[in-house]
């Protein structure tokens, strides 16, 4: 009974910076929100019906984070709630709220102040099963190393192909003024950087950055009045696989496949590789980009590595992937990472991506993964029409 369409009508963001000692997360949220409301031409005090904030307590370093949310984005004494989920999850909630017919305009916020965190790897350890896994006391990122090993073994992709992903994404990031980690590097640089969690090296791993992103969603009827360049949400999907390390599939990203299947079905997309013009997918570790390309059916199983090697996923290639620079180039933004990917797709579809504009595109896909040790992912499909 989905009878109405939903569009992204406003975007606002702060620059992404590796440290931001001069501002608090509250100020970053305010800046992004202010810009988004300007962009959408709405007043949060009476034009926005509901607000969604995406945050996890431990990442914020505060209990019950939603306490801090309303004031900074103009939502005090209004309908607002948080989701402990990735930013794309926030957009999905906004999409659902508008589809109920009860809400016309919804704002979604996600941010990262990861520079405040001294030991992120050990924080993630607390996400492990407290009875079975946490007592081992490891930095939980070893899980990514194990998964990479298994993925390379099953898919036949090579360590060098993973390194090519880093080279491509960091190169793309040079043209993105928001990116923190743009760089010209070589495959050798990646292979020679120090091993963190074998076979991962330091350069294979996305580094954290700070920033806040706000997006305004609206129903079709509102979007047509408010937005000059609405970007329509054609499909959404989200999924969690098992949290158990002992029983999960280690080489296939089932959560990404299932969330994409849901989104493709909603968007009536039968041949993703042909119908998707541009994709921003999770590359928080280099191999994840390859693994997710396969799970999202943007290529066949075992094909991702060679596609990257051939340059098919470069900005000028047949299927541009992570033109923004991805998390390897832009930086990893915690729960806001998904919104950063959507932001790039929106800028591209609006034709506002500057030097990195890909010409002649109509449909884009953004996908995210919530990071080690989760098996949760989201997919969203956006389109000009």
């Amino acid at each position: 009974m989905i009878s109405s369409r939903v569009a992204i009508i406003g975007i606002g963001y702060t620059p992404f910076r590796t440290i931001s000692p001069d501002v608090s997360f509250k100020e970053m949220m305010f800046e992004a929100a202010f810009k988004a409301y300007e962009d959408a031409g709405v007043n949060p005090r009476h034009d926005i019906d509901s607000f969604v904030d995406c945050a996890e307590d431990f990442t914020e370093g505060r209990s019950i984070f939603d306490i801090q949310a309303p004031d900074n984005i103009g939502a005090a004494l209004r309908s607002i709630h948080t989701v402990c989920y990735d930013g794309i999850g926030g957009l999905i909630v906004g999409y659902m709220l508008i589809q109920t017919g009860q809400y016309k305009v919804v704002a979604v916020e996600a941010h990262s102040k990861l520079s405040n965190m001294l030991t992120p790897g050990y924080l993630v350890t607390h996400a492990l099963d407290p009875v079975l896994n946490k007592p081992l006391g490891y930095n939980a990122n070893y899980i990514a190393g194990m998964e990479m090993n298994r993925y390379l073994y099953d898919s036949g992709a090579t360590r060098e192909q993973c390194a090519r992903v880093c080279v491509k994404n960091k190169m793309n990031a040079i043209d993105n003024p928001l990116a923190s980690y743009g760089d010209r590097i070589t495959v050798d640089d990646v292979l020679k950087s120090e091993t963190t969690f074998y076979p991962l090296s330091r350069l294979d791993t996305a580094a954290p950055t700070d920033g806040s992103i706000v997006m305004v969603l609206a129903s079709e009827e509102k979007a047509k009045v408010l937005a000059k360049k609405p970007v329509w949400i054609r499909g959404v999907g989200w999924c969690s696989d098992t949290p158990y390390l002992e029983t999960r599939p280690w080489s296939e990203a089932a959560y990404a496949r299932l969330s994409a299947e849901m989104a493709y079905k909603m968007a009536s997309i039968k041949h993703p590789r042909k119908e998707i013009d541009i994709a921003e997918i999770d590359d928080s570790f280099s191999y994840k980009e390859l693994q997710h390309m396969e799970a999202l059916k943007l290529c066949h199983k075992g094909e991702a590595g060679s596609l990257v090697e051939e340059g098919a996923t470069e900005r000028e290639g047949e299927l541009p992937i992570n033109v923004s620079g991805g998390s390897l180039g832009v930086g990893w933004l915690g729960e806001a990472t998904g919104l950063q990917r959507v932001l790039e797709i929106v800028l591209q579809l609006r034709g506002e991506a500057g030097k990195r504009q890909v010409p002649g595109i109509t449909t884009g896909l953004a996908q995210s993964w919530r990071g080690v040790p989760t098996t949760t992912g989201t997919t969203i499909i956006l389109s000009k029409e």
Binding site: I64, I80, Q99, T242
Partner: protein, 387 residues
């Protein structure tokens, strides 16, 4: 666009207790299974899951809903956790509502889980980091201080006495005697409350609900599916939620404005114009006895400052004009934060279907309201259900 109707078709909960031996996953599964069994469904019939669980700091599990996925039957399904502090429980029901009302799903499992006992020596410690880091956290304030301010302000504004408020604790703990899952059911007197240890004046030990472990679950379904499952669906007719500013010092605590805003949202959606006449039964949030009265006023079920008088007249008793917390509420059944909110809606579900056993209120109630509250005196979440 006509709103898609959403029904509650099944409910389940675990016993609430001080220290459960089960893990959070197991508690969640127990409530989940009971809810599914109650309507003859299995995990495979569930298309989406809405999870509610309060701060991760309670059991030191980061991204707790990810960890709970097995217990919430969210495995390989769209599963999402909504979070509004203490208001989470009732909000989770609203979250389940928008999953189904959006047209994306025909069924949604709503689950609230809480395991507070892992936090040693007391979950109160988890709250130390929730205040503003510059102006409030350095005070190292206990949550009880904040409640003491609010209770004091409420009493002062209306000239209410501690004894009048204590009656709410007496009523709820007595109601809970009939609840098989209750943790602190008891026959006590106003004197017992008055003589109990002072925690932060005027809050005394028996004014406060216990900390609990437990879980509660509901099965939601769209109209077509609900009619196939049961001939007694309970409809979710209105939902509302609201967060006020975090700067508690800038607000007058005598009245929960945010609850009123959330209630008006829910009443408007439900087409309720005169809540005092149209609502037959209420489950306001009662982590403290004065909070029940405070919230009854916020829900527009009586005039400001009048709740204590009506309570003394027996108006809110199980056989009164407007039974409130017939379950026993948080004071009696227990305060397993997110689970308690879901439990409140589950109680309305059982009451409206006439399945509440010894707790059944007379007169076949047709419309009920459940409400939760949380954060820094800041959140109101409201769900209106009807037959």
């Amino acid at each position: 666009m006509a709103m898609r109707k959403v029904a509650i078709v099944g409910a389940g909960m675990t016993k609430f207790m001080r220290r459960a031996l089960e893990t959070g996953k197991e508690l969640a599964w127990e409530a989940n299974k009971m809810a599914l069994d109650s309507c003859g469904l299995t995990m495979n019939d569930i298309e989406s899951v809405a999870v509610g669980t309060a701060p991760d700091a309670f059991d030191m599990v980061h991204m707790k809903s990810e960890y709970l996925t097995d217990g919430t039957s969210g495995w390989r399904k769209p599963t999402m956790r909504g979070f509004v502090g203490g208001g989470t429980g009732v909000f989770t029901v609203a979250q389940g509502w928008y999953h189904v009302a959006s047209g994306l799903f025909d069924t949604c499992l709503v689950i609230g889980e809480e395991k507070m006992s892992s936090c040693m020596p007391h979950p109160q410690a988890a709250f130390v980091t929730c205040w503003d880091q510059f102006t409030e956290s350095p005070l190292q304030a206990s949550l009880l201080w904040f409640f003491a301010w609010e209770m004091n302000r409420y009493m002062n504004a209306h000239g209410i006495t501690e004894r009048e408020i204590a009656l709410s604790s007496v009523k709820n703990k007595k109601n809970a005697l009939d609840h098989p899952c209750a943790q602190l059911a008891a026959e006590i007197t106003v004197d017992d409350v008055m003589n109990s240890e002072v925690m932060a004046w005027p809050v005394k030990r028996l004014d406060v609900s216990p900390t609990s472990d437990g879980a509660a679950a509901l099965v939601l379904a769209s109209e077509n599916v609900a009619r196939r499952i049961t001939d007694k669906p309970v409809w979710i007719e209105g939902v509302g939620w609201c967060l006020d500013s975090m700067y508690v010092g800038q607000r007058d605590l005598y009245y929960p404005q945010y609850v009123e805003v959330a209630a008006r949202m829910a009443y408007e959606m439900a087409g309720i114009t005169e809540p005092r006449r149209e609502i037959h039964i209420a489950e306001p949030y009662d982590p403290f006895d004065y909070k029940e009265l405070h919230h009854i006023e916020g829900l527009l079920l009586c005039d400001k400052g009048q709740a204590p008088k009506l309570l003394a007249d027996g108006y809110f008793n199980r056989d009164g004009n407007l039974p409130t917390c017939p379950s026993g509420g948080l004071l009696g059944v227990g305060n397993a934060i997110a689970a308690s909110g879901v439990m409140k809606v589950a109680e309305l579900y059982w009451q409206l279907r006439g399945e509440a056993g010894k707790r059944q209120v007379p007169g076949k109630p047709k419309k009920g309201v459940a409400q939760a509250w949380g954060d820094e005196m800041q959140v109101g979440t409201v769900v209106v259900v009807g037959t």
